[in-house]
């Protein structure tokens, strides 16, 4: 349920967040207003809503399915932003699936133990389960590892290229108004 405030619209324009006007001595890192959520209970990954997400399709810039009007700005920058989001979604999908099956399997192992098991026997049963689990998941994890490694470095490299491009553009035309 969304409870919206009753204060008048003009208060929306005031920022009530304390410490909002940080005087940043050097701009080593741009102020990013990404929204970071708590870790997902199953996949343990934090969802992120990026502040500079690529522009979305809407009726103004899409007339027909083959229209290119929705793609404004630099292609490489668009690709980097999309790649970032895709990587997050890829990780989320993999770990959600993997952990759901892991916890289900662990519960099944614990349920199957008889009532009168000592803590040491329970520990031994779980140790055996962990070994079986890792052997079972070996191929799937190996594929994920390779894919994650490839995508991670490619996204970082692409981000570096985009930043370098921005820097060069700003250095070549220092007095151009930001577009």
């Amino acid at each position: 349920m969304v409870r919206l405030p009753l204060s008048p619209p003009s208060s929306f324009l005031r920022s009530s967040r304390p410490g909002h006007n940080h005087v940043r001595a050097f701009h080593a890192s741009l102020s990013r207003k990404h929204l970071v959520g708590p870790p997902d209970p199953v996949s343990h990954l934090r969802p992120v809503i990026y502040d500079d997400a690529p522009p979305v399709r809407n009726a103004a810039n899409v007339r027909h399915p083959y229209s290119l009007r929705e793609f404004t700005g630099d292609t490489r920058e668009y690709q980097w932003k999309m790649q970032r989001q895709e990587l997050d979604a890829f990780n989320q999908a993999f770990w959600l699936d993997s952990n759901t099956r892991f916890y289900a399997a662990k519960d099944a192992v614990l349920q199957s133990l008889p009532e009168e098991t000592t803590p040491e026997q329970r520990e031994a049963a779980l140790s055996a389960f962990y070994a079986r689990w890792v052997s079972q998941e070996r191929t799937r994890q190996a594929e994920y590892n390779a894919e994650w490694r490839k995508r991670n470095w490619s996204t970082i490299l692409l981000g570096a290229r985009v930043r370098y491009q921005e820097f060069v553009a700003r250095a070549m035309h220092p007095f151009r108004r930001g577009g």
Partner: protein, 423 residues
Amino acid sequence: MRGAVSPLCGLRLQELRSQHPQSSKTPPDPPSLLLRRSQVGQVLRLLLRQSQVVAGVQGSICLSHFTSTITIRTRSFREAQVLTPRRLAKIYWQLSKSSLTVLVALTAMSGVALCPLPTTVPVLLSTALGTAFCSASANAFNQIQEVPYDAQMARTRNRPLVRRAISPLHATGFAVATGIAGPALLWTMVNPTTALLGAANIALYAGAYTYLKRKSTVNTWIGSVVGGIPPLMGWTACGGSLLPSSSQSFELVLPSFMTSLSSIPTDLALADNPLAPLALFLLLYSWQFPHFNGLSYLVRESYAQAGYRMLCVLDPHKNATVALRHALLLVPATSILMPLSGLTTWAFALTSLVPHAICVEAAYRFWKHGGEKQARKVFQHSLWYLPVLLGLMMFHKRGMDWGSWLSFGSDSTEEGEATTTPA
């Protein structure tokens, strides 16, 4: 006033207010707002600002965008913090795994302290700082590559990249900068051998070890080599050599009852032989096994869930066997090899038997029973074992006349004369 539109995000506020009067009961259906996806961030920020509470904004928004519908729960989304220099420094500190970096720098400095060759304070400080930079770079590269795996394990969930405090590109920049600064500092201020060892350590840890963690259990051995290199860096920083050379011959320092000499030579240069750095390396190398194997047994569930290939998961009995093997190996590597090489006096062989006995006993129990209680004991003993042994080595260092330091014996009279003659 139906249809009043907020200037900021086009929400139909009045309509919603009429739908949901101020009651304590939760309404049955969530309202559906027609929002553009780009406005989601604005709405969330709006709610956060107006509610003055960062956490606990309950609610769900149904978005309908053309034909697809997405439901986002606005539970506790926080804005990423502005990176002030202070916060950035803290994040860099965490990226470099600060406690590990400090301990690595200390082991490098202990290598400098134990080396008999003369050294200066700038060399000591440069070695410490250069080693710290190398360690920071290696750890940062490791964290960049392991973001989703660290998220799975409770122990590592609060690392900066996992909690999105910093972007991967920024972390890579830090890793590259420290990875260049460390070896460069060592090359210019110390010597090239130390710089090459530092660079090799970064490659071993960030490259080989991190890759093998997901491939094979041999990663633990590679990681132990990584731990053994910093004292060697300290040794070479003073100008000591690691490999035996044909031109240089050295003698083994035997205990007094085995030699025919009437006095024990206290010549410091005796320790300038390759057995001494070998002994230091073996101490740090073998120590890693009881330390890591004990700890990893305690967190084996996290390792299994995250898909790491570790001995504690795949073969717990071999895990304990390796820990015992290296706990036993530590005894000759320290108690015999160190006095033999001339690093310490033979009294060290006797005094070091006490920590050895305690640790070997704990490792034996872990091997015999293999439970979490025994594993915890092995790990806890490993924590004090290393500083105690390094302390004993410093105390028993060959050439250290503690009597003169504490004003006992004949040397103190000579010192007393030396200080009083100018008066």
